[in-house]
Amino acid sequence: MKEQLDTVFRKPLSLWSAALGLATANILLFAFEKPWTSADGLRNWGDWLLYTLGAPTPEELLSPLLYSGSVLNVGILAGALLSALLSDQFAVRMSTLMELAKGTVGGILMGLGAVLAMGCNIGGFVSAVSALSAAGFSMMLGLLIGAYLGLRYLVWEVDRFSRISIGSRMFLGSLSFTSRTWLVCCGLLAAGGAVAAYSQKGYSQRGVLLVFGLILGIILQRSRFCLVRAFREPFLTGESRMTQAAALSVGVSMLGFSILKSAGHRSLESFVFPAFWEGSFLGGIVFGIGMVLAGGCGVGALWRAGEGHVKLLFTTIAFALSTSIFRMLWQDSSLINHTGSMLFLPDRLGWPLSLLLALGVLLAWSLFAVWNEKARGFAA
């Protein structure tokens, strides 16, 4: 029994299947309610945490149990935990204090970047590009620059202060098969119970989002699909598969989003934020540096925290608090009017040219990665 289960659940999911699965989930999420986002759910956690600690209530604070972005994130965390338990990859992975500090700084930077860009690399890049918002593309450029800068810092750090990232020897691994099975059964029961409770209280939509989150978490953990890798790897090992998979995923969801929008099922302005280009570009740079320092973006931190990486748990908490605080400061300042304008590409260029241009950008990104892998042009 143990052997059979392990062969089924230990086999990694290919990046290509993950790319298509995530794109499909994102299209369904858009059709169902709104596209995939991560930062706004984390902000809800931050707002709620600050509120319980005694900070003044933000205008409309929904409970994390009811806020849709939060429910989705809970699902992702739980899905990754279940998937890691099933595949025997769950372990409490403690890192050195300096690494925890780096994870925290990474989370703070990502929280700030997500405020500037009006979304993290999921809401502000993946979903925004899919929605043909120009801000998605300027954030993409910012993320590329940020990932490069972050990686240069890490290379310098390892060269000069290699003791910052030494092994911690604090590692609580490998639960027994029996305890893993029990935990998975309890987890599934809890998830089922939560879905039932939502529908009984008249919030069945939240229950659906929880299931979406669980599926996303399982796909992410099994495939290790990671946008930080997609942006960083060309500058590190030169490996290009993750970049190609990310471009494929965004391209597919873009086609789905465009159908939903052009057919009138969703408003054309949906996920087009007034952040083109200053806010999204600067936010992308800050976010890009943060995600490389942390070793995971908003979602990446969530699913790795579910897998037991303590550093990424710190990142998640820091991200939530930072994005909540910066958002409040931002709204009180006049800077909020200077993040840029709303630009829905088809308004300016028409549908055919917009799609061609957007797919061209994604193709160029993956071709750059492939060329770079062969020529080892940028690899460290």
Binding site: S95, L154, S162, G173, S174, R224, R229, T237, H309, R376
Partner: protein
């Protein structure tokens, strides 16, 4: 990739327990640079992502990955031979 011909002796050990990508790769890269050609580095990590990462890294840098082993406690052990300066 086996130890059939008797255990391979490592010339240096690098502990990357608890580290998340890309730190194990950066640390390995630095450590390999300090070794002589032909010497073997033993690296221990706990991030499941470090296995594909290291495989990509040796493919690009053309060093030799002699062994990838899942340890009883859930950690991973790698033996890497430096093949060129």
């Amino acid at each position: 990739m086996s130890e059939e011909d008797g255990p391979i002796k490592s010339d240096a050990i690098l502990d990357c327990t608890g580290l998340v990508c890309p730190m194990p790769i950066l640390q390995t890269s630095k450590k390999i640079a300090q070794l002589e050609v032909g010497q073997v580095l033993e690296m221990i990590s706990t991030d499941p992502g470090s296995q594909p990462d290291l495989q990509n890294w040796v493919r690009q840098t053309r060093h030799e990955l002699l062994l990838v082993q899942s340890l009883e406690n859930g950690a991973f052990r790698f033996l890497i031979r430096k093949t060129h300066p």
